[in-house]
């Protein structure tokens, strides 16, 4: 027990391969606790921030896989209009461009909130999160306007397989944006009340990953559904 790090000569410490699995955590000179757990790379275990980010990234990838099923269904059914209106009749490219601009700008301001929170600036974190939320709300409003217009003109989800899959995939993305806005409001309140504690910072990191991933899904969505589908 007492023959831990002090017993290891300095020369040997330097010769330790940092990428060898099972390298003693304590033997490398971090407190000499003598833990012998396997799988610790250079510098011991990864920081909690890295681990939390990885776990949330796994969730986001599973979300993307779920979206891929909706995309596959829509791509297969894009021409199954059953005599009803097609994408060429329904989609308005300028409104889609405006929606894209709102979401891209909100992704940028979300990144600004990450920069502001990394230097613990309360004012700019709140301002950029607020702008992100306003832009996201504008996006949702445009989408709701499009949906109600389509349903009123008789192009609702029950009209054809094409429209069922359209409302499913675009609506699913809209649900994600709605959930993201609720999360955003929660994060603004938490940052305001609790400040930049490490766990709040990690939640902000996860929210950032979520919001940027929604923008990535929107890129696939406007390309497949609106631009390619609008030409059919």
């Amino acid at each position: 027990m007492s023959t831990s790090s002090e017993a290891v000569p300095q020369r040997h410490r330097r010769d330790i391969d940092p990428y060898r699995l099972g390298r003693g955590y304590g033997a490398a000179g971090y407190g000499g606790r003598g833990q012998d757990a396997t799988g610790r790379g250079a510098g011991g275990p990864a920081s909690k921030r890295v681990i939390v980010g990885f776990g949330f990234w796994i969730f986001l990838l599973s979300d993307i896989v779920m979206f891929s099923a909706f995309f596959a269904a829509h791509a297969v059914l894009q021409t199954a209009t059953a005599g009803g209106p097609s994408g060429r009749d329904l989609f308005d490219p300028s409104r889609v461009a405006l929606e894209t601009a709102f979401l891209l700008a909100s992704s940028f301001t979300c990144g600004m909130s990450a920069v502001a929170s990394s230097v613990r600036n309360q004012l700019w974190t709140q301002v950029s999160l607020l702008v992100t939320g306003v832009l996201g709300t504008c996006f949702l409003a445009l989408e709701a306007y499009e949906f109600t217009n389509m349903i009123r003109s008789g192009a609702g989800p029950q009209t054809s397989a094409f429209l069922s899959s359209f409302f499913a995939v675009v609506g699913l993305h809209g649900c994600h944006v709605t959930a993201g806005l609720l999360w955003l409001g929660t994060m603004m309140a938490q940052v305001f009340v609790k400040g930049f504690r490490p766990n709040i910072q990690r939640r902000l990191l996860c929210f950032n990953l979520f919001w940027h991933t929604l923008d990535i899904i929107w890129v696939a969505l406007f390309t497949i559904v609106y631009l390619i589908g609008g030409g059919r």
Partner: protein, 133 residues
């Protein structure tokens, strides 16, 4: 790779260049990274909408061009907004992403491939109606 002291230091050289709280990056540099990503993404978006409505390109190639532009833009988002890098502490993220891409490609391309073959093999609808009488 000899075990230099810096190699063993947590948060020394073992930090992704894009990680948001990497100590060597100033606020100005971080904002610059996001701005660069925004510029690239905007240009690619404009290109997508232009390509979709243009007559300059041979029409059947437009979906391929749109797919290429979308993949490029997704790459820009991953690099500049999500900070997916080649750094050691990002290896797990990269591997998970690669697996996710594999599944997405299998689901989407597989569905399109199978359904296309089924459509080709299916009896035309008017003949089917005749057979049901």
């Amino acid at each position: 790779m000899s075990g230099r002291r810096e190699d063993l230091e947590p948060n020394g050289s073992d930090v992704a260049p894009g990680v948001i709280d990497a100590p060597e990056e100033t606020v100005r540099e971080k904002i610059g990274g996001y701005l660069l990503g925004l510029v690239f993404a905007t240009l690619l978006t404009i290109a997508s909408f232009y390509v979709a409505g243009t007559n300059l390109i041979w029409a059947p190639s437009i979906p391929i061009a749109l797919a290429v532009l979308a993949i490029a833009q997704i790459g820009i988002h991953l690099a500049f907004f999500l900070h997916i890098t080649t750094a050691p502490d990002n290896t797990n993220n990269i591997l998970a992403l690669a697996f996710g891409i594999l599944i997405v490609v299998l689901v989407v391309a597989g569905s399109l491939w199978i359904m296309d073959h089924l459509n080709q093999n299916m009896v035309p609808m008017d003949q089917m109606m005749q057979m049901q009488r």
